[in-house]
């Protein structure tokens, strides 16, 4: 199948899955005990006027399908409804908090990719004590949840040493980077450990392949052998982790932003879950799931380019 057909098919699959996910996210409201109206209001004033206002605003008296389609239509126009807690459009809330989270996730992503790949490379190529140290380090990194990393980093570098601020996201690019350094590290730690392990294993495996020996036998300098024949052959494996990395980064912002009081989208998710501000929770969930699928889509498109052996149109094992 041609690349275009493959891309279109993957796109269609992504859209279908995204629609199904949006259906679930929307319908979750109906899982709540009682009726959606009282759920949406839960804890707040439940006067008859408030209930009627809610029913009207969310068209809760319409048939389910209509409600869903209306909601979906609005979402596609960027309208995620109104926050019950703050009474402002959700998109406004999101917009205000977007820069912090965007910068945080970007910084963390750079850390994960760069440090992860480098550690994996060094561990597999050097071997010996260096590799041993990297193995130990990554074992603990993989066992450290991001909130633990956040608290420990905060305790050491912020409270004790005072090198970095312990809360807030700062203003102005440089200031923000300084504020978000510890949060980005906390966010990235677990994934650095994981990516380093994957890279290391993949490289060790490829090193045993005949084509590496052959390249050496042709007189190719050792560094070039590692770069062009070992590392290059692991890019496919690394790429397939892209979706997992991005989605983990996104969801862990809830923990890290809360720990560092960063006014980002993650913190908003935590707040709105606590206050049961469901339209906000819906919106953020949809965004996270959507980004994950988008990343996977791009990974699927890039993969055949990185690894010519991957035949177009094959899907991984399911269920």
């Amino acid at each position: 199948m041609t690349f275009l057909r493959f891309a279109l098919r993957r796109l269609a699959e992504m859209v279908a899955t995204l629609l199904a996910a949006s259906f679930l996210i929307f319908g979750a409201m109906y899982l709540a005990p009682g009726n959606p109206a009282s759920f949406l209001l839960s804890g707040r004033s439940a006067s008859p006027e408030a209930l009627k206002a809610i029913n009207d605003q969310y068209h809760l008296n319409d048939p389910f399908w209509q409600q869903y389609l209306r909601w979906l239509g609005q979402v596609l126009h960027g309208d995620f409804g109104r926050s019950i807690e703050y009474r402002t459009p959700v998109s406004t809330l999101l917009g205000a908090r977007l820069p912090s989270t965007l910068l945080l996730v970007a910084m963390a992503l750079v850390l994960v990719v760069v440090v992860g790949l480098v550690l994996g490379w060094i561990g597999s190529v050097r071997g010996g004590a260096v590799d041993g140290a990297i193995l130990v380090g990554t074992t603990f990194a993989v066992g450290t949840p991001s909130f633990v990393a956040a608290v420990l980093l905060q305790g050491l570098f912020s409270v004790k040493l005072g090198w970095f601020p312990s809360s807030g996201s700062g203003s102005g690019f440089g200031d923000m980077v300084w504020h978000l350094t510890l949060p980005a590290l906390a966010l990235a730690l677990y994934l650095i450990g994981m990516l380093a392990r994957v890279t290391r294993s993949a490289m060790l495996e490829v090193m045993g392949h005949e084509h590496v020996t052959v390249a050496r036998s042709r007189g190719v300098p050792e560094r070039a052998v590692i770069r062009r024949h070992v590392f290059r052959n692991t890019l496919g494996t690394v790429l397939t982790m892209g979706g997992l990395i991005v989605s983990t980064l996104l969801i862990c912002t809830v923990l890290v932003e809360t720990a560092f009081s960063v006014n980002g989208i993650g913190q908003l998710l935590d707040l709105s879950t606590t206050t049961k501000d469901f339209p906000v929770v819906q919106a953020i969930s949809l965004i996270i799931v959507g980004i994950f699928m988008l990343v996977n889509f791009f990974v699927d498109l890039l993969l055949p380019l990185v690894d010519p052996r991957v035949s177009l149109g094959t899907r991984g094992a399911s269920a």
Binding site: T17, A20, A21, I25, A28, M29, L31, A32, P33, G127, D131, G132, T139, F140, V142, G143, T144, P145, S146, F147, V148, V151, Q154, G155, V159, K160, M194, L195, R197, V198, S201, A202, L204, E205, T237, T240, M241, L244, L250, I251, C252, V254, L255, T258, A259, L269, D270, T273, T274, K276, D277, F278, V281, S285, I288, V289, F292, A317, S318, A319
Partner: protein, 289 residues
């Protein structure tokens, strides 16, 4: 078959390569550690030196002393007792997640792999949908609907982890189905269900269980995170994640011990589960080769 062990692909990949260190003492150490932790959790009411919830504000944030070997937290509660008692919820939650996801995941994977056809397609598509939701996100969604408490998040996480178990089971079942003994039994008139339960299942069990052991660590991380946000266990229950949350303010005040200790407990327990689970997965993979 090693690439079928998924959840976090990183750890699965660990085993395919020649890991140049062969440390069985590490494995035994981790196994021993887990044994201690489990024992601690089981015997908690009898071995905690104090009532974990006994508040003593006058003594808040004191360091280690004779009566409080590990110090106290911001409300004067004995850290050691809270650690010991906290092991209960910290382990029980993930246990629920793993049991649920394993049982349900195996059932789904068996059905999809054995029957094939439309059932397989439907189940596969559905589990793929669940894949799109990170575990913590599902848990948060559920909590935003049902509120505080451990049961809802445990079920949510169980559902989130299910696809990894079912995907693994499915590929194992597909492979087993081709084995000659299956046809032999079918010819003798045994029903599909019988063959599945009495023969296929025991053969694939070791691999699935190894994966589930690894999943335990992840469930622990997710649930502790939830408690850290104040959204998991109810406020008064000692729980390691909760303790980190409580301890955060202690850190700000410069008395980090009550926060560091639960952090250490979480990390060490997860690391131990990972090491043990990987080792088992290793042995299973080697056995099959």
């Amino acid at each position: 078959m090693t690439d079928a062990l998924v959840r976090r692909p990183g750890l699965a990949r660990l085993r395919i390569s020649k890991d140049r260190t062969g440390r069985s003492w590490l494995y035994l150490l981790c196994l021993g550690f887990l044994g201690v932790v489990v024992l601690m959790a089981v015997l908690a009411p009898w071995i905690s030196p104090h009532d974990p919830n006994a508040v003593d504000l006058g003594n808040a944030l004191a360091g280690p002393s004779g009566t409080h070997p590990l110090g106290v937290d911001g409300s004067g509660r004995d850290t050691a007792s809270r650690l010991i008692t906290g092991a209960r919820t910290s382990l029980l939650g993930p246990l629920g997640v793993v049991v649920f996801s394993t049982v349900a995941g195996v059932a789904v994977g068996l059905a999809a792999g054995w029957r094939g056809g439309w059932l397989d397609s439907v189940l596969s598509r559905t589990t793929e949908l669940v894949f799109a939701f990170p575990g913590l996100l599902l848990a948060l969604l559920i909590v935003s609907i049902y509120g505080e408490g451990l049961i809802a998040p445990v079920i949510a996480l169980g559902i989130a982890y299910l696809p990894y178990v079912s995907r693994l089971t499915r590929s194992l079942v597909l492979a087993e189905r081709e084995r000659p003994y299956v046809e032999a039994y079918q010819v003798q008139g045994h029903s599909g269900l019988q063959i599945c339960l009495r023969h296929v299942l025991p053969n694939i069990a070791p691999v699935v269980l190894a994966q589930s052991t690894i999943n335990f660590g992840y469930a622990l991380i997710d649930l502790a995170g939830l408690s850290f946000l104040g959204l998991g266990v109810p406020a008064l229950t000692p729980d390691w994640g909760r303790m980190v949350f409580d301890g955060e303010s202690a850190i700000q005040s410069g008395y980090p011990l009550s926060a560091i200790l639960p952090c250490a407990a979480i990390v060490l327990t997860v690391v131990a589960f990972n090491v043990v689970g990987e080792r088992w997965a290793d042995q299973v993979a080697r056995r099959d080769r």
